[in-house]
Structures are given as C-alpha cells and as structure tokens.
C-alpha cells in the first residue's frame, strides 16, 4: 500500500501542492487524472522520491520514502518519467538491463538475464532487442522504457504519462500490457494519464486532482459522472453509456 499523509510541496505563495492525504491499495491499476498543472506528475515524482517533499510523509509498503535508503527503495518501487533522453547509444536490451541495477549493481548474472528476457518478451520487444534506441519509433521506445521498469522487478510501478506520444493502437497496447502487469505479475501500477476514458477503461481506481488538491477518488464508475468530471476539468463533460462502459464526451 502507498499512503500519503499531509503531503505538501510549496513553490510560491500561490502555487502549492497539497496537503494531500491518499491511500493507494496494493495491487491493481490506479490512475491519477486532472487538468494541466493540477500536480499529478509532481505527486507521482514525490512518491517515487525523485522530488523532496516540504512536509508530510509518504510510505510505500510500510517504508518511508524519505528515510529509507534509496538503494533499498529501488527494489520496492520503480518510476518512469516522461522525458527520457540519453547521450549514450544503447540497444533495447542494454537499456532494459539497467533496470537490474538495484539487484545486480551492474554485474548481470544468469538470473538477471532471464528477468531481462522476460520483461522484453512481455512488452513484445523480442525482435527489437538488439536494435539501438535511436532506430526505434516513439511507441517502441516507450515500450522499451516500460520494459526497463518491469525488469527492475518491483512491487510498485509508477509511470508518468506512459501514453504520451503514442497513437491509438499503441496507447491501447500499452494499457493492456500494464493491465496484464497488474493482473498476471501482481504489480501495483500507478500512472498519470490525460485521457479520462483510458483511465476509466483500464484502471481499478481513479484519483482526481485539481489545483494541487485531491478532489475525488474512487472506482471508474464513481468518478465518471458529469458533475465530477466537469468540476475537475473545468469544462463541460457529458458521460454516455458506451458499448464498453462509461464514456466521457468533452468535444
């Protein structure tokens, strides 16, 4: 379980995140939604201890993210941010291999190689594993990053906008693979997502943020109402009963 209590991050007098109190249960997919500047990514990076908090506590599986040594946390939680740009030229497999660092400290043994292969196969990258990242399309590269995070083999997986730059097909594929990671591998997946319909279709819980505050949380059915969505996104939203569940229409 991930639990946040009274978490704050202050940028200036007007701009602040929190205080946020939130419990994310272990297992399943949790989506953080909200308009631009709501603090979704900031909250996620604070959970992933890439960004310090100004007050409050965050615990992941009982470990406090501030006081637990970073190298121990790296075996419990993995995080992928949006922007990834490397100066070195890496093959897909080499990149995914870096995910094993917390376990192997850079010396890959046979067990590591097996897990790397599994992660690559899981994301359907087997045929691309010897290709260099700069030879891949945006969607393939995004999958390679996710494979690296899976190779880290942590119970908690945090992803900041994994659907960024992906087209329809690859967005759906990515969400299905994350869904499978939660269902088959038992991971707790927390992701920031922009499209509320994707969040509703593939996640177990939705957490809605606005202006740095948590405004709603619940199952997709609970959140997908015209009143809540219109309020969160500050734009008129109509919710229809679609062929595969509730559908928000906002254009």
């Amino acid at each position: 379980m991930i639990s946040l209590s009274d978490v704050r991050k202050d940028y200036s007098d007007e701009v602040a995140i929190g205080p946020v109190d939130l419990q994310i249960p272990a297992g399943g997919v949790t989506a953080l939604v909200g308009p631009n500047g709501a603090g979704k990514s900031t909250l996620l990076t604070m959970i992933g201890r890439l960004l310090g908090l100004d007050s409050g506590t965050i615990e992941i599986g009982g470990f406090d993210v501030v006081s637990t040594p970073s190298k121990d946390l790296a075996k419990i939680v993995s995080i992928l941010r949006q922007e990834n740009h490397f100066i070195t030229r890496l093959t897909v497999r080499q990149l995914v291999g870096f995910g094993r660092f917390p376990h192997s400290k850079g010396r890959l043994n046979r067990e590591d190689e097996r897990i790397i292969s599994e992660a690559i196969d899981f994301l359907g990258l087997s045929e691309l594993e010897t290709r260099y990242l700069d030879e891949l399309s945006g969607g393939q590269r995004q999958r390679a990053y996710v494979a690296m995070v899976l190779a880290q083999d942590t119970e908690y997986v945090l992803l900041d906008e994994p659907l960024n730059n992906l087209d329809m097909k690859h967005s759906v594929l990515m969400m299905k693979q994350l869904r499978r990671a939660a269902d088959e591998l038992g991971k707790t997946v927390v992701l920031v997502i922009h499209d509320v319909n994707f969040a509703a279709a593939y996640s177990d819980r939705i957490v809605a943020l606005r202006d740095g505050m948590l405004v709603h949380e619940g199952t997709p059915e609970e959140i997908m109402t015209e009143e809540i969505l219109s309020g969160v996104f500050d734009t008129p939203v109509q919710v229809l009963d679609g062929p595969r569940g509730l559908l928000a229409v906002y254009y």
Partner: protein, 349 residues
C-alpha cells in the same frame, strides 16, 4: 494485443543466447579488440619512434639507452597527460550529460593562465622561475581543486541545485579570469610577454621531471577511483531521474566524479599547460571507436587514443618542424581535421 500475445507465446527470435552486456559477442566485440590492438601498436610505435629516431647510437647499445632515457621522460609526461585528459573529459561529459563541453569550462585553464600571468606581471621574468618547484606545483593543483570544489559544493548543495547554473557560473568565472589575464598581458613588456606566451601553449617540455613523482600518484589514484566507479558512471549517463530511480544518490555521485575530474585536470594543466582540445578530441574519438556505453571499455580506448595523438604530434613537431614539445598547435590542426572527418562519416556524435 494479438501481436503481443503472439510474440509472448512463441520463443524469441533472436538466437539461443540472449546477452545484455556492453559489448555483445561477435562483431561488436571483435571490432572493439581490433581497434584496441591497433591503438596499442600505434602507441608502442610512436613511443619507440620518439626514443630511437635520430638517436645517433645503434639500437640496443649502452649509449642508445642513455639517450633514450632522457627522451623517456617526455613519454612519461605524455602518458600522464593522456591519462588525465582522457579520463577527466569522458567522466565529466558523462556526469554532465553532454558530449560538447569539456572540464575546461570549470575555469581550470583560465586559472592556470591567470596564475602564470600574474606571476610575470608582479615579479617579471623572475616570476616564472618562482612558479617552478614542487611546492608551487602542489599549490597550483590545490588552488585549482579547491576552487572547483567550492564551486561544485556551493552550487550543487543549494535548494535550487542545478548543473546548468553551475556550468554557467563556471564559464563566467573562466571568462572573468581570462579578461584579467589579457589585461595584465597588455601591460607587460614585449620580452616578458614573449616568455609568458611560451608558457601559454600546452607543451610537453613545460613539464618539470621533478614534479612527476607528485603528479603520477595523484592521477593514478583519481583514475583508479573513477575506474572503480565505472558502473555508476554508466548510470549517470542516463540522467538524474533514472539514476535516482535505480537507487543511486545522484548528487553524491556527481560531486564525487567532479572532484576526481578536477584533480585530474589540475594535475595535467599544472604539468604542461592548457590542453583542453586534446581532451575533447580524444573523448569524442573514443566514443566512436569503442561504441559502447560502458566506461570500463571507453577509458582504455580514450587513454590510448590520447597517447597516440600526443606522441604522434610530438614526434612530428620534433622531427619535422624542430619545435620540440609544442604539441597543442598540431593537435588542434590535425586533430580537428580528423575529428571532422570521423563525425561527418558517421553522422552522429
């Protein structure tokens, strides 16, 4: 979904052995060791050439070795400089996640020039003599390392710790020191200026053999520490977020690398003077030659390339232009051309 399920259920297509190491077995590994071999042959060749060319005594006699021994000093100096510049530049570029700027941006050379210039400015030509000696050598290194540690420590530990800001301030300090030096040089007499100019070119013959017993252990220790840190350097190249996400304290690693880099740069600069372009050239060529992310493989190629370039330049300057030691000029000319050819042929950094 179909696509991924299909792939998931069938066995992977890429052969029986799936390997994640820095150099996959086969072509890449073979290429690496061939290049390493060529560099070793070239390094030994140039080394021997410097010892034996124009040596009036027949090879192997007592007299030959006596002359060779005197020339051997410059080979040792070149080894030290190649080692320092290559490892420092590669590590610095990795830690700062770029392939363009070099550690000189932290103002080492500007500081060296400023120290030399002010010695001549305040004490006349006698000042240069006063700058020689082991104590002064250690002092120069200490000042350079101290300045950079202050800068890193101050800029990287603040609330808005930011690498870009640190580099920018480094440039400004370097630029400021440079202008002060230029101003003082304007006021020198022509003869003083002439003597000073000789110091400003990176030159192997600037080095004082007496200083080698201090320089060698210092750079060996720094180099070995960076070598031992290679696995974490590989991580640093992936950026702050990934480094932290994989459980490594990014700021501490960065500080450690920058400190070791400053030791290497200070030793090299205090020994032979400004030699930045060599570092840049060697690092860039080494990335092309080694073609891997692993610093354990990049470092040896970089050091050997550095030595080959230096020794080649020294050999040419000494035996063709009779300008012993002034290697930085030819390195910039020939090395720059070579650099452009490699980059244009490969089309990427």
């Amino acid at each position: 979904m179909l696509e991924s399920v299909k792939r998931f259920s069938t066995t992977p297509a890429s052969g029986p052995v799936r390997h994640s190491g820095p150099l996959p077995p086969g072509r890449a590994r073979r290429k690496y060791f061939i290049i390493l071999g060529i560099l070793i042959v070239l390094a030994v060749g140039f080394g021997f050439g410097i010892l034996a060319w124009d040596n009036p005594m027949p090879v192997g006699t007592d007299g030959f070795w006596r002359i060779a021994k005197m020339r051997g000093i410059s080979i040792v100096v070149m080894l030290v400089v190649a080692f320092c510049q290559a490892i420092a530049t590669v590590s610095f570029q990795t830690a700062t996640e770029n392939r363009i700027i070099t550690p000189s941006i932290m103002g080492f050379e500007a500081l060296y020039v400023a120290v030399q210039t002010s010695a001549v400015y305040f004490l006349g030509i006698a000042g240069l003599v006063a700058m020689q000696g082991n104590a002064q050598f250690v002092l120069q290194i200490a000042i350079m390392v101290g300045l950079s540690v202050l800068l890193y420590g101050w800029l990287l530990s603040g609330r808005y710790a930011n690498l870009q800001v640190m580099l920018l301030i480094g440039i400004i300090i370097g630029g400021g020191l440079g202008s002060i030096s230029t101003f003082m040089q304007r006021l020198l007499t022509p003869s003083e200026f002439d003597v000073l100019t000789a110091q400003m070119f990176g030159s192997i013959s600037n080095a004082d053999p007496e200083q080698l017993p201090i320089a060698i252990p210092l750079c060996l220790v720094a180099g070995i520490l960076l070598w031992a840190n290679a696995k974490r350097l590989n991580l640093l190249a992936l950026g702050k977020d990934i480094t932290m996400g994989l459980g490594v304290n990014h700021r501490r690693e960065l500080m450690r690398v920058l400190l070791l880099v400053s030791v290497l740069m200070a030793v090299s600069t205090a020994l032979v003077g400004p030699m930045t372009f060599l570092g840049f050239l060697v690092a860039t060529l080494a990335y092309q030659f080694a073609d891997t992310y692993d610093h354990r493989f990049i470092f040896p190629v970089a050091v050997l390339t550095g030595f080959v370039v230096l020794a080649g330049a020294y050999f040419v300057m000494k035996n063709i232009f009779y300008a012993q030691g002034v290697v930085s000029i030819i390195i910039e000319l020939v090395g720059g051309t070579l650099f452009l050819i490699v980059i244009l042929r490969k089309g990427r950094l």
